[in-house]
């Protein structure tokens, strides 16, 4: 198809965002109960009702819930009656947003509700995440998520890209920034702590917690009706790398770089970046892959080091970036989400507000 024949690409924006307060444990409430207030809040921001939404997509993981088909009951919280056009990814909600974005691009819907949630408190997250690994050769050894991240951090230190004090500074900055975030789980001056798995100390690792988030997308003029300053998705792309850690350069993130390139992140500078870097060393890797200068405001929300509700933390990055555009704190922001061990899979979205 030649460029003259190519139809104009539909403009799609994030128009609303809501999240829970992220907490170490929410054992007094079910997933549906945790999710309900967030769904109500994000709908209230736009004045939309469930029946007004053109497409709904969610992200979650059965392994966190400890139960097959865990997402089926979450749908009750949406109030899917009369029946809705709906789908689900067994991934972080950032990928649910990607699916919703493609749905709006086809013109089949003008608005989309995207939500995701995860409760880590019922189990041992470090052990649970080992079940993501190659089931025949790696998972039986139970290498846990912090041990794998430590392998990556040590490789980064050995390559001369960072050192332990620099990593400590990333942790301290994140938690200082989180003091302005009412939803954050860890905030303020927190001792960097002892080694968990060398070279990572407690301050290099994310808190384990429960939480949920929701976003509303809208296309074209509909977005302007629903939001004073929509956060337009200028580009969004995601890429996956090989699973085996032995065949990857752990000090780099080529999938992030490629996704950013495809999303148009390098075409103009961004002023804000919300990076899904659960471990301090991963922020160092992502900054390099994304060529973020010191003038870019990275993780003003405190990032995943302040709150890391698994399966929602990536969607929250997009929501936080969009909210800054809604408030006028940013004009062009990058949002990033990750999945899998040691940044195996990465998504990058570029969001822009209308010129002021």
């Amino acid at each position: 198809m030649t460029s003259e024949e190519a139809p104009a690409v539909r403009e799609i924006a994030v128009v609303a965002f809501a999240q829970t307060d992220h907490r170490r444990s929410t054992e007094e409430s079910s997933e549906v109960e945790m999710l309900m207030p967030v769904l109500h809040e994000v709908l209230a921001q736009t004045g939309l009702k469930t029946a007004d939404i053109g497409f709904t997509c969610s992200g979650s993981s059965d392994y966190l819930a400890g139960r097959a088909f865990s997402f089926t009951l979450a749908l009750d919280g949406v109030g899917a009656w009369p029946p809705i056009s709906e789908s689900h990814v067994e991934m972080d909600g950032a990928w649910a947003l990607y699916e919703a974005w493609t749905k709006l691009l086809t013109g089949d819907a003008d608005t989309a509700l995207v939500y995701s949630y995860g409760k880590s408190s019922p189990g041992s997250l470090r052990d649970v995440l080992t079940r993501q690994l190659d089931p025949y050769y790696v998972a039986p050894l139970w290498p846990d998520s912090i041990a794998l991240a430590a392998l990556q951090a040590q490789a980064l230190i050995d390559a001369g890209h960072t050192d332990e004090p620099a990593l400590a500074a990333v942790g301290a900055r994140s938690r200082a920034d989180a003091t302005a975030n009412p939803h954050a789980q860890l905030k303020g001056q927190i001792p960097h702590g002892d080694h968990v798995v060398r070279p990572l100390r407690t301050g290099d690792c994310p808190p384990v917690g429960d939480g949920a988030a929701a976003v509303i997308l809208a296309a074209g003029e509909r977005a302007r009706d629903l939001c004073a300053r929509p956060a337009w998705i200028r580009g969004i792309d995601h890429r996956i790398e090989a699973h085996g850690l032995g065949v990857r350069d752990l000090t780099d993130s080529p999938s992030t770089r490629l996704a950013a390139e495809k999303a148009g992140a390098f075409e103009q500078p961004v002023d804000t970046a919300e990076l899904h870097a659960p471990f301090t060393a991963q922020e160092v890797i992502l900054r390099r892959a994304l060529r973020l200068g010191d003038d870019v405001r990275v993780n003003p929300s405190g990032g995943a080091l302040a709150a890391n509700p698994v399966m929602a933390a990536g969607l929250i990055r997009i929501g936080e970036a969009a909210a800054r555009i809604h408030r006028g704190d940013s004009d062009r922001a990058l949002a990033h989400a990750t999945s899998g061990p040691c940044l195996q899979q990465n998504l990058v979205a570029v969001l822009e507000g209308d010129p002021r």
Binding site: S61, F69, P83, M91, T102, P135, I240
Partner: protein, 388 residues
């Protein structure tokens, strides 16, 4: 705004069996994907993105297995999405992949769904713990049997209908080399004499537990023009969901199923499905769901579906063949079962269905459902591209 037309140019599946002990999960999915590529005469390098689906991760004991499967499916450096919508997932996965093409985000997409049930125990995986479900609810049959009974009472169907469906589907499976159950000595009497499991569902009226994978290559108009074999064109596709349990839910004929079908028919310009559609591959895990879905999908009036089955309309040589492949009753790798329905519909309109080919099949419906009859995904494919 205009959408890019979506074509199926490659279909691949494994020979479905109770246990594929000779391959890993990665080996299983690779086999189906490789066959789909061969059908389309493409290589891994021609694929822009991968969309994979399966039913719950507990069935194999691997959390988010797409991470581990990225290498086996040639996805390294590419986008990879993982869909999970319970039993409807195989259909939903194909629709998510189709949207990538329709939205012109990607030109050629590999979509694949699988289940390797032998790695685990589906009965356990499907028996959710109290307080989420009532006790003594053994597997899917325990959930669906009361709804079958409700259908029988409501429609006045004779209690022989279920066995007719099972007998038909198992005979159809004999013509499908990929089907799991090949019961060469099947008779109607044997179906009717099989043990009662969840009254009124007998052993021979239930689906097996299978290992298997199904893959399709979806592409745009330009990709279809280069395809070596006739493409199947997507004329309509939709998903609908409703809550699991609520007072107003009709478990016999859920509103979400009716709405989903209506949306597909609207997109495809189908005025009268009974007249305009040539054959149907529907998700029938327990035999009685054939007459139930015939009504839900608009092929028969309420309470009349069983009459189509009884009169032979749904036989392979009938006026409206249903489950030409042998259906879920003959092959059930749960995560793949929905995609197999979609793929069989594509094979039929491409004229590639072999011994179970329906002569003159031009428009065929693929159907999947999941959860407690709450998730629906369907597509209608045709031998001719869409008009607009």
């Amino acid at each position: 705004m205009s959408k890019e037309p979506v074509a199926v140019i490659g279909v691949g599946q494994t020979k479905h069996v109770a246990a594929r002990r000779d391959v890993s999960i990665a080996g299983l999915v690779r086999e189906a994907a490789q066959r789909a590529l061969e059908d389309a005469e493409l290589t891994w390098a021609d694929i822009d993105a991968v969309v994979i689906g399966k039913a719950p991760d507990f069935f194999e004991g691997v959390m988010m297995p797409e991470l581990y499967l990225a290498d086996a499916l040639g996805a390294v450096g590419k986008p990879m999405l993982r869909v999970h919508t319970a039993g409807s997932v195989g259909g939903s996965t194909a629709l998510v992949a189709a949207n990538l093409v329709a939205a012109r985000v990607h030109g050629t997409v590999l979509t694949l769904a699988f289940e390797k049930q032998s790695e685990s125990n589906a009965m356990w995986g499907l028996s959710l713990p109290i307080p989420f479900q009532q006790p003594l609810l053994a597997g899917a049959g325990g959930f669906f049997a009361p709804h079958v009974r409700a259908y029988m009472r409501r429609s006045g169907a004779p209690d022989t209908i279920g066995s007719l469906v099972a007998y038909k589907d198992r005979r159809n499976a004999l013509k499908n080399p990929y089907a799991h159950l090949h019961e060469h000595d099947i008779t109607l009497e044997k179906v009717q004499a099989s043990p009662m499991l969840w009254d009124p569902i007998r052993y021979s009226e239930t689906c097996p537990s299978s290992d298997g994978a199904c893959a399709m290559i979806l592409t745009d108009r330009a990709g279809a023009a280069r395809a070596p074999r006739p493409p199947a064109w997507m004329l309509g596709g939709a998903m609908r969901s409703e809550p699991t349990l609520f007072a107003g839910k009709d478990f016999v004929s859920p509103q979400a199923g009716k709405d989903c079908a209506a949306d597909v028919y609207r997109q495809a310009g189908i005025a009268d499905p009974r007249r305009d559609i040539d054959a149907v591959e529907m998700y029938v895990p327990f035999s009685w769901y054939e007459p139930m879905w015939l009504e839900n999908l608009g092929f028969a009036a309420e309470g009349e579906g069983w009459k189509l089955t009884e009169s032979g309309v749904t036989e392979l040589d009938g006026d409206l063949p249903v489950n030409m492949s042998g259906g879920v009753l003959s092959t059930n790798p749960i995560g793949a079962s929905g995609m197999i329905r979609f793929a069989e519909a594509a094979l039929q309109v491409r004229g590639q269905a072999g011994e179970h080919q329906v002569d003159g099949a031009r428009k065929v419906l693929g159907h999947a459902y999941g959860g407690g009859s709450q998730f629906f995904s369907m597509w209608l494919v045709g031998a001719r591209p869409p008009d607009s």
